[in-house]
Amino acid sequence: MMEKQLHLSDKKISIRDLGDREYFYGHKACPGCGGSLALRLALKVLGERSYAVVPAGCMSAVGFIFPQMAFSCNAIISTFPGTASMLSGVAAGARALGIKDFHAVGFAGDGGTADIGLQALSGAIDRHDKIMYICYDNEAYMNTGVQKSSLTPIGARTTTSPAGKRLKGAVTHKKPMFEIVAAHGIDYAATASVGYPLDYLRKLEYASRVDGTSYIHVFAPCPVGWGHDTSDTISVAKNAVDCGLWFLAEFSDGKFTLNHKPGKFTSAENYLLGQSRFRHLGEEDVKDILAERDSRWSRILSEWSL
């Protein structure tokens, strides 16, 4: 039953390093769901000695419908705000019982992380609890039918940030979750994208060895909420990075590192207008989004190492 163990350098991982065993299988996620891929890959890296904590949201709704159980490792649904606090309890309980070599790993969406779950996440990071927290960011409350969260990007149309005559979708920028967790002095944090799976896998493997709290924020498109073809999930996730609207970075030992510097950004217009949630945006709106992107990148490039 033993999974092939990963022994990797910090910089490289290949598909061949991953075991064949599936830990998230037969779930009811929508076709092409980026979040379910993020979860599946994480559990392939972490293996059978994992306790997965999944709050109310898409991944719990699709994974534990009695008597259909899609997780093959131990898993539990937490309350919506309680991903990190339950993870802390699981880790503390297992430690107190003398259980060794386990991973307590949470999978929460953007709303479950940046909105309702932020308090508990902040507490866990502050305690340096040895837990892994993975935020699969599909940029809105998808399980309830695409409502705006604080990680919905500006201009995105959701059912609670409609695009009409007066407003053009969401009017606020994404909350900078990566920087927020880093500001806590977290032991390890990273951003990732399912469009760059090897980078994501490497970060998962690294995080699994961190003696403290680790946080991975993985960009995970939702074909239903974003309005793209189910087959485009990976390419959309890759394009977001390539056009500079998402970034791949790490934070450890108090330092930010940019992992992937796009030589020249690909067209953000193509990225945005390829998704129905942005299709209402006019030229000026896109220009504003690009201006914000460019100012973020000038800060990243001046402050973070490469």
Binding site: C30, P31, S36, R40, M69, F71
Partner: protein, 101 residues
């Protein structure tokens, strides 16, 4: 087995005594398939496949398996037909065939 299969012999609980204690149930317990979700099915052209396994890596449902010596095999019980595998295959070795539904 590297992945769970449908428990065909499972009988749903009828009386209270059949129910589990608390809300705890064996992991990886599948009683139904997702096959009916699919409008198109991916089909691997073994002649073109180089077994690079990018499709296996990127499948959100994990239904592409390395289970035969000949190469990859798709578990059509749980494939939802999203088409990521066909789209991401660098060899164009996977085509999406209409299920005719």
């Amino acid at each position: 087995m590297n992945y769970p299969v449908r428990q065909k012999s499972f009988k749903p609980p009828k009386v209270l005594a059949d129910y589990p204690v608390g809300t705890a149930f064996p992991a990886g317990h599948l009683v139904e398939t997702n096959a009916s979700w699919r409008s198109h099915r991916p089909v691997i052209d073994a002649a073109k496949c180089t077994n690079c396994r990018i499709c296996w890596l990127l499948c959100p449902d994990g239904v592409i398996h390395n289970s035969t010596p000949q190469g990859l095999e798709i578990d059509y019980d749980y494939c939802k037909g999203c088409g990521i595998c066909a789209k991401e295959c660098r060899q164009k070795a996977i085509r999406m065939e209409n299920e005719g539904v």
